[in-house]
Amino acid sequence: MTDTAVQRTDARYTWGGDEFLFVEIAEAMSLAANYKANAMAALLTARGLTGVSDICPANASLLLRFNPDILPPDRLEAEVRGVEDEVAHSSHQTLDTRIIEVPVWYDDPYTRETGARFRKGHQKPDGTDLDFAAEENGLDSPAEFIRRHHESPWLVSMVGFVAGLPFMFQIVPQKDQLEVPKYLSPRTDTPALTVGHGGCFACIYSVRGAGGYQMFGIAAAPIFDPAQRLDDFRDFMIFFRPGDIVKFRPVEEAEYRDIQAQVDAGTYTYRHAPVVFDLQRALDDPAAYNLDLLERLHGH
């Protein structure tokens, strides 16, 4: 499938029992399918339908939880189809969102140590996850993979699995997508804030736990703060929202430690700026569009 703007083709509607409606927008991942999921979710949220408790946009689909005693299934489906139609017919395919800079210590000792504990059964038992990722993408070195990873921004295409975990899709043409298979057998341990990768998706593990994505580095600041200590979490314990745009910034140990100290002191805040995500521009000329986005981040 090639990248095209939102198509006026029907999504597939199907029920997940008597409390969930699932809308598959496309079978394959693309910026256009994700845009449609987020745009539909935004419109549905704005409508504030009584009886709908959860509106969950995902990579290329949308999941809604509803109470059929309040909102009968056929009425819900009619509402959602109406919203789908509205998104397909809107001439400006844009989403109000923000771009966020996320400092990452790539090839850090924490994920390297964890990776070393799970080499048995790994696709590359005698190397690191980064070695494997570079090889899989035909790149000369892990350093080249890291460069590609942080050079272009990523769109948060879904938040979930566990509390606050962002899935991210890089805003580059499909031929330039970094693709790395998941672990053959999932790990039982992953450090919190590990920057991981599975298929065409990057993620940041919000909590320590099991995981199957390859590990490339560790984010320096929290993305999930149940105690809501930091300013960025004052309104909500989860930082990322679907539609956010993420620019990874590589940091070395000294800066990582410095950020950690700011986090401990409760003074750390993420650098971020409001942006309007424009699907057509992202598809037509991602390189130029990304430069434009980064300009917003670095101020004006």
């Binding site: 029920w15 997940g16 991942m29 959860d54 995902a58 990579n59 999941l63 149940p226 989860i238 679907p242």
Partner: protein, 323 residues
């Protein structure tokens, strides 16, 4: 008033009716897994349906209260003891300050609930007192109980403030905890990706609940299920049971690699890359929570209309508790 936990039990957590509204960021609904039994524990303790209770899994806690208290135990059959003396389940129990409550071994099922008049009064987090242990959110410090924990109990309710008057629950109204269970499911989501025979197998085989069963989900053993071979779409992963990561319906059934179906329950992971092929209807979610490992389980297909009728029927049963 407070409860002093002397021994925590295996996985005792504070739960109420759950935390809807945050599934879009990966925080599950949570709440008592066997919601009907939890509601019964509340009714018998003189509460309304919304107070937080203790959910006990396999092995319950041992505790004292620091003042006179009213409790009730409902759910999986278990011996209840106060100061070592047997006391009935499914009834309101009066405790004096310092009385020690303990439990024997389960005689069936998996979970039982301790209702305390006034409810377990932990802080409300995102609209609920339920414990989501993976995210360390809600409940008592976001985790399962430990020895030494002191749980605050809210002010007692009375009839005027929504408290129930019932002191016993007749046998006919109590749920059963059988070794064989039929669970109704609505096929859908990605069921078209199974072979016809695969879907038939899912809906006709006898499945056995494995010990891999917790608040997140329950894994069943049984025959292999065939997926249609195909060229996978971009971003979906290589196995025919993979999809581009999507939101997971609570109660949905996934069959990674065609082996050992997993049914997601109230602490479901909110999404992932495995195709779901059917969903347990809301009226039957409690049946899964009551199942002990080894339970023989049939997944029987129903229509959406039948699922809605079963839901209405369940509401009727529920209203009898409070009548």
């Amino acid at each position: 008033m407070a409860i002093n936990i002397l021994e925590p039990g295996l996985a005792t957590t504070v739960q109420d009716q759950g935390r809807p509204g945050y599934y879009n960021v990966g925080i599950p609904q949570g709440g008592a897994m066997d919601s009907l039994s939890a509601e019964m524990a509340n009714a018998l303790a003189g509460n309304s349906a919304v107070e937080a209770v203790l959910e006990c899994t396999y092995l319950g806690p041992r505790f004292t209260t620091d003042a006179d208290a009213v409790i009730a135990v409902a759910g999986a059959p278990v011996d209840v003891k106060v100061n070592g003396e047997p006391r009935p389940q499914w009834s309101r129990l009066q405790l004096s300050a310092g009385d020690e409550v303990s439990f024997g071994m389960l005689r069936g099922g998996t979970r039982y609930y301790i209702g305390v008049q006034g409810g377990i009064d932990v802080p409300v987090v995102l609209g609920s007192r339920s414990t989501y242990t993976l995210g360390a959110v809600g409940g008592f410090e976001g985790r399962a109980l430990k020895a030494g924990d002191v749980l605050p109990v809210g002010p007692a309710l009375d009839v005027g403030t929504g408290g129930a008057e019932r002191t016993e629950l007749e046998e006919a109204l109590r749920p059963s905890f059988d070794k064989e269970v039929t669970v109704r499911v609505l096929p859908g989501l990605y069921d078209h990706r199974l072979t016809e025979e695969g879907l038939d197998t899912l809906l006709s085989a006898t499945w056995t609940l494995t010990p891999v069963a917790d608040r997140t989900g329950l894994r069943y053993s049984g025959p292999e299920i065939a997926w249609k071979p195909r060229t996978q779409p971009f971003g979906a992963g290589s196995d025919p049971s993979n999809i581009v990561d999507a939101g997971y319906a609570v109660g949905s059934i996934q069959i990674p690699g065609g082996k050992e179906p997993i049914v997601l329950h109230r602490d479901a992971v909110s999404g992932g890359g495995y195709a779901m092929v059917a969903t347990v209807i809301s009226a039957d979610m409690d049946l899964l929570a009551r199942s002990a490992p080894g339970t023989k389980t049939l997944f029987r297909a129903v229509t959406l209309e039948e699922a809605l009728a079963a839901r209405a029927e369940g509401r009727k049963v529920r209203s009898q508790i409070w009548g």
